[in-house]
Symmetry: C2
Subunit: 183 residues, 2 copies
């Protein structure tokens, strides 16, 4: 394991904080580690039918570009990840889901962040409100096969979207998605 | 797009830095964004034969746990990502690869980091040195099918390992890996 010697600096944002720590490695050497202390997040593959998912276009400040991704967001304090998935889906697309199923959880940036992203599938969608005008510029219904093609050709390069679609396909092939999920 | 108003704080580590910026959203509202300014990284699926890959056990400070992952690391200034993949493979496992093939690039943490991870396949492995004693506690040869099972059962939850294996399988199914790559 690696032992914290001391915190050299800290940067606090509204929802998470970043620390720079001096750390002792397993062989005794000393180095620095950045640690982004981040809440859990939830992402959603939302199916209007079994061949399509909802995707959102949004500006990503960290990379300075607009992307096409599955809806996602940070879990609020005290909120269950599944409730967060439903809330973020509704906030970003205006759609409420009657069924949510967790299919995978992972660490996106294990080298410097403790964030866990939990990926859900959603179905039974009903339009209940408008789309988010703060961060989302468009909501699109995209064929699952087309999303896969866009990943394979490098046009979609958002990690959670790639993992969500890949794990959905693997679980379908293994018969691990209930037959009645899309009904 | 989102416009930077000013930087509120900054945290500099040896290889990257983190900024907290005040930002104007597309609808005029003001919010804060964390941006981890991170160099590119390379990760390697290294095949001693076509059914096995090399994996490393290492302590991950950010999550406080030991993990099983594919070898990876940050690209040095002026270094090509492919050279980085070969260097990190050799540093972490002691194996030099005669063939390296880039199969995918993605943003692991698009919400707060500009890091791009480029995933390579490697073959033609030759043992040329010892393993890294600083950060790696063990190098393991693991069957590809077993890695897939460990992902599906949630025992492997490192994003780049999940994406590397998923994209490798998808490219094999599509016939996009050259027949002679493993020879």
């Amino acid at each position: 394991m690696e032992e914290t010697i001391k915190t050299l600096g800290i940067l606090k944002a509204r929802h998470f904080c970043v620390r720079l720590d001096a750390v002792r490695l397993r062989n005794g050497k000393v180095t620095e580690r950045i640690k982004v202390d981040h809440p859990e997040a939830a992402a959603v593959l939302a199916f209007p039918d079994k061949d399509h998912i909802l995707m959102v276009r949004q500006w990503r400040y960290a990379i300075g570009a607009e992307t096409l991704e599955i809806p996602a967001g940070k879990v609020d304090p005290g909120e269950e990840p599944q409730a967060c998935a439903g809330r973020e889906l509704q906030e970003e697309t205006g759609q409420r889901a009657s069924r949510l199923l967790e299919i995978f959880s992972y660490y996106p940036a294990i080298g410097y962040a403790n964030e866990i992203i939990r990926i859900f599938m959603a179905s039974g969608l009903v339009k209940v409100s408008g789309e988010d005008g703060n961060e989302i510029s468009a909501v699109e219904v995209v064929e699952v096969d087309r999303v896969h093609d866009m990943i394979m050709s490098g046009r979609i390069c958002d990690g959670k979207t790639v993992i969500g679609l890949s794990l959905f396909k693997a679980k379908m092939e293994r018969g691990e998605i209930p037959d009645n999920f899309f009904v």
